[in-house]
Homo-oligomer: 346 residues x 2
């Protein structure tokens, strides 16, 4: 029997310029009649969204298209989209059926019609929190895994530094490095986060970069013999200080540069000559290039999770109407751990 | 019979600060009695220096020792040292005998006593100009070979950009890339050098960076589809413009940053976020780490040279007394090709 349901949506009102705030988004309510006769034949799915993921890269999609965009910009006036966990209500794609749980790219709304089903992964393990598929078991988890294990060529005993270390990606990089037997130090933006790093995630050391007037001196304190591996999440001044402290044959996985995303012009990095002197490899990567490794990743990480060898901290906000502020909060460090928005628990 | 000979030397008077000039060096004359009873037993050689090599890195050895020095500084009041070609006059090392020709680290003087014989290579092929062992067949040649073939992972058909392209290293990188079947563009600082690149070294295109107010636009002109491989010799603004024009999965061999060597504070590089978006690998290296490849390198390059498939342009200055200005000239681009100083032709 047909049922009229409302569909709350997060709309991007206009392209963001400068530092983002919530005013660029609005909540609107449209309606949908269920069960939906899917408006396409042979592919696509109708999803009920459960958890949405707030990810820093989304801010790039909220800006006007420009020469070096690597992701399409969102359409002003339309709902934005991002990673999420959802339940399949109806499917025109033989790979998905009603009742399946999936993670991947969906809309910031209660119900979504997704044609790009190649960007959806079927969830096969449900003995773990479903929301983890926005973090530990989803894109950020894969980012930590690929960035550390595939890009950094890490060896037992090496000295690893991680910035934005308590976040969705960083907390995992640190734990992967500890599991391998590395010495691990992280930086984060509050005392609470520093405590998490040391007490919950087992980092050897951690510091609040906001309280370090001299980042070079801070790094020299924690790495008197220098850094073998830097997992770069923030860019700018942190990168410059790290370059001064790298060891010979060091590696830098360039995952993100969040401190630069909202600047008119990115800051200058001055110490690149160290790349030569220290024979450093600096390697950028985008996790989606490596999704073929997802099954291998799950094989590694699910046992760790079940055995309690990996911790994962989420910052869970209830309600789609709170999603805009949760997203913006990434850029002020409001989130403690992986920022998740609950749209519906079932 | 003992013979008293004079030994002309290039002395560093004081540490260089800021932009170098000749006044930091002086020519002095000491004496030496030959044949020398070597003042060491069991190792070391007495050399008669024939050709000396002017290399940009030497300026780092002329500065006061500082935290990130990777080479020892020269001693004020002593002769400086660098790569050269020499003849063995006397030897306490069983690996060398009187009459041998060698290349490696020697003094900027007519005669040198060298204890660090591990930094000397015996010259076994003399059907080629001896001076080439300061360039094509010596350290700069190895730098081009290692930097291009080992660091850049080049593929036929890829688009290659080289800065300081007409120099000791750059002219070879371009020719190696052409031999592999790449599209090759170089930048250099004069019309004469640009002509050399196109007419003598077979680069597909070349431009005078000093006449390009907008380097980004220049690169877009020569690389409408972007750059796969950048061989970095200069750093600074050139690197920043290149980062905007790299292709996905691009590689940057970080060989040198000569535009930065004489600045109080290195310039800022702003476009590093492209490393992520384009999945770029940026790899610093120091040629001496790879000297184990020297025999393999000779096997590749000697046949090319004998068959006329590789050209090599030298800028030869006569006389040790002209060595200081030749060295300083590297930093104003006075040299056209590999800068060599003739101390003696036999
Ligand atoms: N390459 C890829 O494929 C890929 C994939 C996923 C994520 N990433 C990147 O990885 C990085 C981490 O992402 P995530 O999802 O784990 O985010 P997150 O760390 O959970 O959240 C962002 C955190 O960044 C820190 N931050 C914000 N502004 C900052 C600034 N100006 N300077 C320094 N730190 C700042 C804040 O923590 P503090 O309180 O500690 O400052 C904030 O909590 C981001 O740069 C992201 O773009 C890349
Ligand atoms: N990593 C290693 O192991 C290794 C080994 C050898 C050399 N290197 C580096 O490789 C690079 C090339 O060395 P090389 O021996 O072949 O020297 P070179 O190119 O023969 O001589 C230096 C040239 O650099 C250019 N230059 C000088 N100042 C500049 C500036 N401010 N901006 C742009 N270009 C400038 C000049 O050419 P223009 O007229 O074209 O400006 C000059 O002729 C240097 O950076 C050197 O330090 C590294």
């Amino acid at each position: 029997m047909a049922e009229q349901v409302s569909n709350k949506q997060v709309i991007m009102k206009d392209y963001v310029s400068g530092f983002p705030d919530e005013s660029y988004m609005s909540i609107t309510i449209s309606t949908l009649t269920l069960p939906l006769k899917l408006p396409f034949s042979g592919n696509g799915v109708l999803l009920k969204n459960l958890y949405l993921s707030c990810d820093p890269y989304m801010i790039n999609r909220m800006r006007k298209p420009h020469a070096s965009s690597y992701v399409d910009s969102f359409q002003p006036g339309s709902p934005i989209s991002g990673y999420g966990v959802a339940k399949v209500l109806d499917s025109g794609d033989p790979n998905f059926k009603e009742g399946d749980l999936v993670w991947g790219i969906t809309g910031w709304e209660e119900y979504s019609i997704i044609n790009a089903t190649q960007a959806l992964f079927k969830i096969r393990h449900t003995d773990v929190p479903l929301s983890y598929y926005t973090g530990l078991l989803g894109m950020p988890g894969m980012t930590a895994y690929v960035g550390f294990h595939e890009i950094c060529s890490p060896q037992k005993g090496e000295r690893v530094f991680i910035s934005a270390a308590s976040g969705a990606v960083g907390q995992l990089v640190g734990q992967f490095a500890k599991l391998l037997g590395c010495y691990v130090v992280g930086s984060a933006g509050s005392k609470e986060k520093v405590d998490l790093l040391k007490k919950k995630f087992g980092f050897d050391e951690a510091f609040n970069y906001k309280e370090e007037p001299d980042l070079d001196a801070a790094l020299k304190r924690y790495f008197p013999e220098g850094i073998d591996i830097y997992f770069e999440n923030v860019g700018g001044k942190t990168l410059d200080a790290v370059l001064l402290n790298m060891r010979i044959n060091g590696r830098i996985a360039v995952c993100g540069m969040i401190s630069q995303y909202n600047l008119e012009k990115p800051e200058g990095v001055h110490n690149l000559m160290n790349l030569i002197v220290k024979r450093i490899r600096m390697q950028g990567f985008i996790v989606t290039d490596h999704y073929n490794l997802y099954p291998k990743f799950l094989e590694l990480v699910l046992p760790y999770l079940r055995q309690g060898k990996i911790e994962y901290v989420e910052d869970i906000i209830e309600g789609l109407e709170n999603a805009p502020s949760a997203l913006i909060g990434l850029f002020t460090g409001r989130n403690v751990g992986k920022q998740v928005v609950v749209v519906s628990r079932e």
